[in-house]
């Protein structure tokens, strides 16, 4: 093998060959970027805040008109905040990847020792950071102005969060694979793909609102179980662990598919030479 070069520090590597130091390096690169750009930081907080204010006032209006909404306090605000975990999680994952394409830095990363698994791990970390930056202030606004405390869901919030963020990463992996294979021509999927879930996973209404054939599709989506679970908690005050179990099972399948798609697109891009043409 190669001669030992004394410039390289011994890098701690897990059994799969994954080095936390390299994941940290990529996270640091994006942390520097966020820190240096107030418009980026503002954008992360902007939409969740606009959404909360709009749905918050709608919730207040409906509570004054309908006994159901007066009883089920926070059902719309809760739904919009949980939806934002899913949407912002996916956007945080893919936007971090897109930043590398926008800055034409991807070539440097792809010929560096950074492995695809480390790249994905860094995107996962950045997705969590971006969700936290976007949602923590919004959750505090919800407490202060609309009397809705997301954290009152307790451990169930953790279960909802983990399931939604896992779905967002599965979608993010698929979109990043498309971007690797098709370049910036696939960029619009980063912004739009998650929205196909919005009507299907029943964010604002129960599954039985849908026609029977659509219910089957809806029940094949992990977020459906999260929103059903949230409604059970907020409307009836009951917990439905079986829903979370189904969500985890479906999510495990989605994440595996997302991961396989990412690796397949990555390999296909290397076969076709499209990593060199990352433009339109």
């Amino acid at each position: 093998m190669v001669a030992v070069n004394d410039n390289r520090a011994p890098v701690a590597v897990s059994p799969g060959g994954v080095a936390p130091a390299r994941i940290g390096a990529l996270v640091l690169r994006h942390w520097y970027l966020l820190r240096s750009s107030w418009p980026r930081l503002l954008e992360i907080v902007y939409w969740p805040t606009v959404q909360l204010v709009m749905w918050g006032f709608l919730q207040q209006f409906l509570a004054g008109q309908s006994g159901f909404f007066a009883q089920a306090t926070g059902i719309l605000i809760g739904a919009v905040m949980l939806w934002d975990i899913l949407f912002r999680g996916q956007l945080g994952f893919t936007l971090t990847f897109l930043e590398e394409m926008y800055s034409r830095n991807l070539g440097h990363l792809l010929v560096s020792p950074l492995r695809p698994a480390e790249f994905i791990a860094a995107l996962v970390v950045m997705s969590m950071i971006r969700v936290a930056i976007g949602l923590v202030p919004v959750s505090l606004i919800a407490i202060a102005y609309f009397g809705f405390n997301l954290y009152a869901m307790g451990l169930w919030l953790v279960a909802f969060f983990l399931n939604l963020i896992l779905t967002s990463w599965a979608l993010g992996l698929f979109v990043c694979g498309l971007l690797l294979r098709h370049g910036l021509g696939a960029e619009s999927f980063a912004w739009s793909l998650a929205f196909i879930l919005l009507p299907l996973c029943c964010v604002y209404y129960p599954v039985d609102t849908l026609p029977t054939w659509l219910q089957w599709i809806s029940l094949s989506l992990a977020p459906t179980y999260v929103f059903e679970g949230m409604r059970a908690l907020l409307i009836d005050g009951t917990v439905r662990p079986e829903l979370m179990l189904r969500a985890v099972t479906v999510n495990a399948i989605y994440f595996a598919i997302g991961l396989a798609a990412f690796y397949w697109f990555h390999r296909d891009a290397r076969l076709r030479g499209s990593l060199l043409q990352m433009g339109e």
Binding site: M1, V2, A3, N5, D6, N7, R8, A9, P10, V11, G17, A19, A21, R22, G24, A25, L26, L28, R29, Y32, L33, S36, S37, E99, S103, R104, N105, G107, H108, L109, L110, V111, S112, P113, L114, R115, R267, R270, L271, R272, G273, L275, L276
Partner: protein
């Protein structure tokens, strides 16, 4: 005799009906500078991209520092690096931040000291804390070079290292590269359309046309064999396929 730093055997790559690289074989001794020359579409970029692992070959084998790139490229990538003016560093990050990120990616020991050394050697001190996007073309090239040298690579791949630089800065960059290769014994694979640069830096030149290596030798040897006065004239002969008979004769 030492084992080659880079060894390519029977490399082939097609994109649909187009054969981009056709049965290319060569080896590069450690500590030498080898230039890959050819006109547009000759197969240089595809060959070099396969060397870096960005493209998977249809056939053939690439060995770098004794490691099979198809099977084990992540073992050898920490010992390689790459510089091209066509691949940017993040614009909003400062020079120091960019070097920190890449130093960590390459697992550089005592990174702050290494950055200080590079800043001194490549004269980066005055813009070490300025965003990369605010630098001039010459300054960006120097930062790109610092990134390429941050891990003191044993195999360095340079793509047009002095493109868009004024003659004085270009000369300074070439001197620094030569100095680095001599002191570290690094192996360089160079792609350039600047024939003066090729003459000055290269120990060996591989001439490519239509996906094949059609000739090779030192710049002086090629100039003598083709009966020309410069590498530019040799390049034109090969690109227009008019000098083959002269060279063969």
């Amino acid at each position: 005799m030492s084992a080659p730093a880079v060894e390519v055997i029977g490399l082939r790559k097609s994109f649909g009906p187009v054969v981009a690289v056709d049965d290319v074989s060569f080896s590069i001794p450690p500590g030498s500078v080898t230039a890959l020359l050819g006109g547009n579409g000759a197969g240089k970029t595809t060959t070099i991209s396969m060397l870096l692992g960005l493209i998977i070959p249809d056939a053939g084998r690439i060995g770098v520092l004794g490691v099979d790139m198809a099977r084990d490229r992540y073992r050898v990538l920490p010992f390689m690096n790459f510089e091209s003016p066509y691949v940017n560093l993040p614009f909003r990050l400062t020079t120091r931040q960019n070097l920190r990120v890449y130093g960590r990616l390459y697992g550089v020991r005592d990174l702050d000291r290494r950055i200080a050394v590079l800043a001194q050697e490549l004269e980066l001190e005055e813009f070490l804390d300025r965003p990369f996007g605010n630098l001039s073309a010459g300054q960006k090239t120097r930062v790109g070079l610092a990134k390429a040298l941050v891990n003191e690579p044993l195999v360095l791949r340079l793509d047009e290292p002095t493109a868009s630089l004024d003659p004085d800065t270009a000369d300074w960059v070439r001197s620094h590269l030569l100095d680095y290769c001599r002191t570290r014994g690094a192996t360089v694979v160079l792609a350039s359309h600047n024939m003066l640069e090729v003459e000055r830096l290269s120990d060996n030149v591989l001439m490519m046309r239509r996906g094949r290596i059609v000739d090779e030798g030192s710049p002086a040897d090629l100039i003598r064999r083709y009966g020309r006065r410069s590498m530019e004239e040799v390049f034109l002969d090969v690109a227009r396929a008019s000098g083959q008979a002269a060279a063969a004769g």
